[in-house]
Symmetry: C2
Subunit: 318 residues, 2 copies
DNA sequence: TTGAAAGCGCTAACAC
DNA sequence: GTGTTAGCGCTTTCAA
């Protein structure tokens, strides 16, 4: 392993000079600068991050802590993970994956948490490490978070349906007592209240076939043209199937989903959906956690909400 | 930060004794053992992995290097990644994600590579770090690898179709000049040769709608009952749609896919498929890379092939 | 501007 | 069985 000393000898300087060339280039004279840089290249020196971490008490590692059950993991995570890894790398950090909330925290600088439940939050605080939550934190929670604005997303979806001429608008939500589920439903209700339209809210579990059954029983009430705003793409997939057996999409009936990960592109017709902007989300998460890590003082918790956009495809009128 | 010294003082022993309690428990007397263990608990000591890594020249970190384009990433990866992280953690290792084949290798002990192309292989060898490929290595490549047995998988699929009474069996493959694509096709051909059945091979890109179009044009040639063996679940999804418009599934026509990740459960009817056994695959990968890391000598490359099983669902006759 | 010394927390090698 | 010494590769004092 090539180390500072090897470079120092090659350049006939002390290792401190070499170290300074890397960490404090302004403190070293131009001649030595050049000399050292040549030597670094010549011997193929790469700084040892471990030694650096030991002396700096900083690891340049951020952990992605996934608290959700592995079996229920949505394909979302692959993209998010990769984007996070990429963004962190640009800042000189490395991404590590863990499923264990109790894993040691000495070898990391910060934690990005996903799939958490309310009861995890106090444990997370006790860890005494910078934390950024993926998913909006409860109002009284002193942790920072980044989330898509669920209510704004469904508001956009509902308004879009209205704008496209659908007046009989249903909402098929998640029968789940979680903030994001409630916020999405609230988005629908807010817009329908504003437009003074009839509110039709139904709930189901997040499975295509359950949504299919549910909507099949609703079809005869439709006052065409009808629109169906769905809490997730999975639900939308089932809705699409149910509706398609009887009505024309998008003429008689429009369907919009939420997530925009993978499923939306597999449906027939392709699904119009509210897309989670993972590129932006991961950027914000990384900026968030790094500012916490690199700040001298303890930052106030910062809760970022990102308003998602609609991706128009084939399941809604143009 | 609590360190060895703090524990040593608390227990009135030297730090070496504490170190030994952790790393070589057999070399320390029972009394001190107890004493030290109490002290460790009392002060809440957690070994500093960074210091450990520095002195041992071992980082206890394995990198997952994803060479595939982010945008084409299949949802597969989330599950694989999580399983890998989990298995590695059991062995005391940590999983890190990287997309950069040239990233420094001093802070890691080994690399698991996915989405590689032939031209990456020489770079990987030059890294001089233990490497395990996900996906079968070319025969002359001196790197270890783990892969699902693609040929055996499609052989099972084809034989299953034959066994269920389908005699007119098509294969819809990938128009991709990659080993796994060729192996899958070979699996179909091998079984059809053995059964002396008519060989009908078609190829398409990995998109549902392309497969749909392709098969729609084939339908009129079917000699029912017909079976369609598909190289991927995405293809199978399109095939399902095309066939469904005309024939009954699975009575007139059976369809089987390959991968068993996510898509298969979303189709209607649910897709019978050859499932990639990710739990096993990740176990083998981890065992593989760790044996390389922990072996004193350089191991011969080891190529593991895992025969996948069929998950019978609704798109084939019972 | 540059260098020498000390030490981050740990363990292997060697003494006792 | 236990302690002492040295050093992994680096950076932050502090002195020149």
């Amino acid at each position: 392993m090539v180390n500072l000393n090897d470079v120092a000898q090659k350049a006939h300087v002390s290792k401190m000079t070499v170290s300074r060339v890397i960490n404090h280039p302004d403190q070293v004279s131009p001649e030595l600068m050049r000399l050292v840089q040549q030597a670094i290249k010549a011997v193929g020196y790469v700084p040892n991050q471990v030694a650096r971490a030991l002396v700096n008490q900083r690891q340049y590692v951020v952990r992605f802590l996934l608290l959700e059950d592995v079996s229920t993991v949505e394909p979302n995570y692959a993209k998010l993970l990769i984007r996070l890894a990429n963004n962190l790398q640009k800042k000189g950090y490395t991404l590590e994956i863990s499923l264990d909330i109790m894993a040691e925290t000495q070898s990391i600088d910060g934690i990005i948490v996903s799939g958490w439940r309310t009861e995890d939050l106090s444990k997370l605080q006790a860890l005494d490490v910078p934390v950024t939550l993926y998913g909006a934190a409860p109002t009284k929670c002193p942790l920072s978070s980044v989330d898509v604005d669920n209510q704004a997303g469904i508001e956009k979806a509902t308004e879009y349906m209205w704008r496209q001429g659908y007046r009989d608008i249903y909402y098929i939500g998640l029968s789940l007592d979680l903030p994001f589920a409630r916020q999405r439903e609230a988005g629908y209700r807010a817009v329908m209240a504003k437009k003074d339209g009839r509110v039709s809210v139904y709930q189901t579990e997040n499975h295509a076939h359950l949504a299919d059954t549910l909507v099949t029983n609703l079809l005869h009430n439709f006052q065409l043209p009808t629109a169906i705003v769905c809490a997730t793409d999975r639900i939308a997939l089932g809705v699409l199937r149910a509706v398609q057996r009887v009505y024309h999409i998008p003429r008689d009936c429009g369907v919009i989903g939420f997530d925009g990960v993978f499923i939306d592109q597999l449906t027939q017709p392709q699904l119009t959906t509210v897309r989670q902007p993972f590129a932006l989300i991961s950027e914000k998460i990384v900026a968030q956690i790094i500012s916490q890590i690199e700040s001298e003082i303890i930052l106030e918790p910062n809760n970022i909400s990102i308003s998602p956009d609609i991706v128009v495809r084939e399941s809604t009128r143009l």
